[in-house]
Amino acid sequence: MSIEVHDAKIKNLIQVCKETGNTKKLAVVSFILTSNKLDEIGIRFGLRHRNKNTGEKLFEYMEQINAFLEYNLKISIFKQEQIELLRNCELLFLKSKGDVPYEYIKKIFQIYYDFRKLKIPNLNKTMKSDVFLESSELGFFSFLSPKSRRRNKDTNKLKPLIAQKIKEKQFSLQKELELEFNSQMFEKAIYLQSLKKSLENNKRNKIIFQGTLKQNLSYQRSIEDIFKYLLLGLIALIVSLGIIILIELMYYPAYNGVLSGWSLFFFGVASIIIIAYLRCFKKEGR
């Protein structure tokens, strides 16, 4: 069901209930809608759903979500006034068993529509660093990507500086998010958190992509590496043959003349290929 149809139905129900004077039905519907939306928000943030069996109230669940986000990202998604408002309405609703004045129902619907405005990003989607970094001033962190991290062996020396920059950016995002929730900013906050964690854990991350592998830019760039592996294979083979000859030389020193010629040949060819490899690929790496 599309959101427009859903809204039209709610409008229709409000109209009809107003005419029949059945505010109780409207109150129940408004609370069910709010409860469902809140469950959705909680689950999308990776939390458990509201525990209805133990009588967990909506405003308590909101506080739980806020506490979770504050602990992990130093961000609170629900404003304190919003929680207070829902608390007043919910307690009255429970006390009067659904018989609440129309003004309260209006407030609940208002809260429900406020919840709907929150666009929760897909936390299971790993943000594409290229897209994110291009659209922000965070290009500084681009060398944290696995490929460039490999190239930059001096990254360790810069770690405290990067961590500081991430912290600063996180702080400014938290401030912005406190003023107004924005899903894009929220995604950035999550991305920064993951960067911070990867910096702390120093683990190799996989490059996660959508669609086909062939369309991925990182993959396309990595294709050229196949020639590098070709040369590496050749070097490994020739050096191995040289080692075999050296071992043979130890077994049969009498054949020194012939075997040393062979070993010179193999190690000579290997050296030429190693030089070619270094010239072709190491220069590129720099």
Binding site: L13, E40, K97, K214, Y219, S222, S240, L241, E248, Y251
Partner: protein, 245 residues
């Protein structure tokens, strides 16, 4: 163009796997003694499965007296090598990582290919070091002409071993690339969003707004009747408050 390179290497690897398979049936090493008149006196060829074989049938001749000792390469390794060649052929032919929807499902395939590369390398390195040299079988080849005895002794690696040498640098790039791609890349999990939607749907309380509207409209139509119909709202409220969903 770039992506075509991978396909070219894939074809090369397939051809190499055929060569590797055939190499098992070729001789890996040969030891011969000829007379000055080029008459074969001793001729032994080594095959990894059948060990030393000779085309000379006379068992009382010098040929049998000079039979090299068995190299004792474990049969298990040879069988494993054969299995790996066949499995790798299957992987390269049917498990193209560029076409797959989930790279993580190809984890085992990279190990198969990686193991084949290791076995290939094992034969290249250890066949001469561990099996040939201790038996005084020279590497890569040797020819001695003894003018006093009027004989020509020659030992050389055979086409089977040469095939191993040729194949190694050719399969190396594709296998390493295959391994690295599966290690470094991962498809975004699609099912997570679907699973989330299922969980949300299961948790949320069902709400049939159409039904509620219809009830209210009915109530409106029969508002003049004294007896009110059973109020559904009470049951919904009770279930909501009791958390029965």
């Amino acid at each position: 163009m770039n992506t075509k390179i991978i396909q070219y290497f894939r074809i090369i690897v397939l051809a190499c796997l055929v060569i590797l398979f055939l190499s098992i049936f070729f001789n890996w090493y040969s030891f011969q003694i000829h007379s000055i008149n080029d008459e074969i006196l001793v001729s032994w060829s080594y095959h990894i499965f059948t060990e030393w074989t000779t085309p000379i049938s006379d068992e009382s001749s010098l040929n049998y007296a000079l039979r090299p000792d068995s190299l004792k390469i474990p049969l298990v390794i040879n069988i494993l090598y054969l299995i790996m060649i066949v499995l790798s052929g299957y992987v390269v032919l049917f498990k193209d990582f560029e076409q797959v929807d989930s790279l993580s499902s190809y984890n085992y395939n990279r190990y198969i290919l990686g193991f084949l590369l290791l076995l290939n390398f094992f034969y290249i390195i250890f066949f001469p070091i561990m099996y040939l040299l201790p038996q005084e079988l020279y590497f890569p080849f040797l020819q001695i002409i003894d003018y006093d005895a009027k004989i020509k002794i020659s030992c050389a690696i055979g086409p089977g071993y040469l095939m191993q040498l040729i194949v190694f640098p050719l399969i190396c790039p594709y296998i390493i690339f295959y391994y690295r791609t599966i290690t470094n890349f991962e498809h975004e999990r699609k099912s997570v969003k679907k699973n989330l939607d299922i969980v949300i749907e299961r948790v949320q309380e069902p709400l049939d707004i159409d039904k509620l509207i219809a009830q209210e409209e009915l109530k409106q139509q029969f508002s003049d009747t004294t007896e009110r119909p059973v109020d559904m709202i009470n049951s919904i409220l009770t279930s909501f408050l009791e958390g029965e969903g």
